[in-house]
Amino acid sequence: MAKVEEKSVATGLSDERLRDLFREMLLMRRFEEKVEERFRAGELPGFLHVAIGQEAVAAGVMSALEPDDTIMSTHRAHAHTLAKGTHPNAIMAELYGKLEGCSQGYGGSMHLYDVANGMLGANAVVGGGLPQITGTALAYKLRKQPRVAVAFFGDGATNTGAFHESLNLAQLWKVPALFVLEMNGWAESTPMSQHLPITDLSERAKAFGMKAISVDGQDVEAVHDATAEARAYAVEGNGPVFLNVRTYRMVGHYIGDPQVYREKDEIADLRDTKDPIELLRARLEISDEDFEALDTEVTAIVEASVEFAKAGTDPNPEDALKYVYA
């Protein structure tokens, strides 16, 4: 449940809405499992990172945003992009490097873009997108638009200069930005004990005088409520909000990561106790029958996305130069 530090304006979600989010999270899960499978089969080029275990953050944050709001994501971007409204076909086609991909094959897994849906890009430099979210929010403020710009990043990013400069500037200028920390406890393979001198990263936001909300990232409703509160606060001109979301990465840093740096038991334990999909399934008391039906439905969507991607168009090699300049 939400552990809200300041007075909550949580609205709560209907069971029907929660079932939609459950389906969305299951789609993310099956999509990324398929990505892993196809990568291991040698079909997908490049460097891929999946967010298995973190689906409730993507689903919860995006469920509280308006279509005009914008996000920038990280190298672990498939779930965010799906949640922001990009069709699975466009994402899968991008992973296959096809023209039908959401970045026309120019970006790949770490650079998913869908500007029409408010996805301003997955950023593969840790912390790289944060200052641009400050700037995007500055544009909304200068143009007096009721929109927010949302940055996703992990605990590793909070150690970068870009993080501190961006939060400082955003708070100084009171721009409508949300800084969503996906606190999964790992900076690639480095545990927080080795890269963080403090455990509560809200302290870092508070140091800039920024409002911070801590929330359980495995609880999609709590994430939704916290985001809704933060969004309302920001668009009203009160300034940015720091969302400290505790979540768990149930997989390696990248597909193929042997995870020599953590105990096998820990992963098994996480899957037993922290899986956001299982937690929500229990809460909504979804029957096996219903689950099977949903699973079949989303699996079909994922399978279709693979078919779509494979049938996609390979770009002309010389089109590599097409978008260097506007």
Partner: protein
């Protein structure tokens, strides 16, 4: 025609753009009340107010990143990095973000950002306030690079930069600010990729950049006393580069000298020399000579500083080498 200093010409272009277009705003360190470290933006706060003339914290990552964010929303921010040397701090945002968004997004995003910066030797600022780094950015696809040398060019090119849909790194030289020159009554945009023949000649072409343009003009005058006719060309923008004009000039004169204040090794002169030798090989009657600073971090003491950076005499010497006889 009215006369403006180089400094006034920069201010004139900024102010004119801001008067006609709400999307143009400026931000940087000390640019508001103080009017910038070089006095370029003096008086602009009074005319445009603090929302559009934004003093920033000392946060080069956030200044550039916020500029990129606002530019991605269609605004036309002009950010100032106080000294070229400090570009190193914002390098990630310039190189990985501003330059790459358009390609990575498959053409969905544009980054119409202008980044003004200045620097240069000649007043003993020491090694961290005088380096000339224009060549670094000419190696980055997706960026444009301008380095005008006259009041007319700085005004016309800054205007074009602001209205260019690509990120432009706009170099000014500290010693050029007080130089006066005639400018057209109305701002005439100067297209990128068009060199200016500063002076016609028949024996040697000197391709000069920034402060070395007036120095080359002096050298040309001195050479004339010795019966050598020097053509001086200022490329004005380095990326894109008016290769045709440079090659045509060298085909005419058969000899070429490049001149910039940056260190010679790996400097932009190397690129110029490569372009010229490739395009005018069968017309070259002497090896291409390069003039630049000696390969050392700039020393403080005036005698060492003056010795290390090039002057008209160095250009003259290089010119003579190209016409030398055994």
């Amino acid at each position: 025609m009215p006369e403006l200093t180089y400094r006034e010409a920069v201010r004139d272009a900024l102010s004119a753009a801001m008067r006609q277009d709400e999307d143009v705003f400026i931000m940087g360190e000390d640019i508001a009340e103080m009017g910038g470290s070089m006095g370029v933006t003096q008086g602009m706060l009074a005319e445009f107010g603090p929302e559009r003339v934004r003093n920033t914290p000392i946060s080069e990552i956030a200044i550039v990143g916020a500029g990129i964010g606002a530019a991605m929303q269609g605004m036309r921010p002009v950010v100032e990095i106080m000294y070229q040397d400090f570009l190193t701090i914002s390098m990630e945002q310039i190189v990985n973000q501003a330059a790459k968004h358009r390609t990575m997004s498959g053409g969905q995003l544009k980054v119409p950002l202008t980044l003004r910066t200045q620097g240069g030797a000649g007043w003993s600022p020491g090694a961290q306030h005088a380096q000339q780094v224009e060549s670094w950015f000419c190696h980055v696809p997706g960026l444009k690079v301008a380095y005008p040398s006259t009041p007319e060019d700085v005004r016309g090119l800054l205007w074009s930069s602001i209205y260019d849909d690509n990120p432009v790194i706009f170099f000014e030289h500290r010693l050029l600010y007080p130089l006066k020159g005639e400018v057209p009554e109305e701002i005439e945009p100067i297209p990128f990729g068009k060199a200016r023949v500063m002076r016609e000649g028949s024996d040697v072409t000197v391709i000069a950049i920034g402060r070395m343009v007036p120095e080359a003009m002096q050298a040309a005058q001195d050479a004339e006393q010795e019966g050598i006719s020097v053509e001086v060309i200022d490329p004005r923008t380095l990326l894109p580069l008016d290769e045709e004009a440079l090659i045509a000039s060298v085909k005419k004169t058969t000899r070429c000298v490049t001149a910039h204040e940056a260190v010679t090794r790996g400097g932009f002169g190397a690129e110029l020399a490569a372009v010229v030798q490739s395009g005018a090989f069968d017309y070259l009657d002497a090896p291409i000579e390069r003039v630049g600073a000696k390969f050392a971090p700039l020393a403080f003491s005036p005698a060492m500083e003056q010795w290390a950076v090039p002057h008209a005499a160095d250009v003259l010497e290089a010119v003579k080498r190209t016409v030398a006889r055994a």
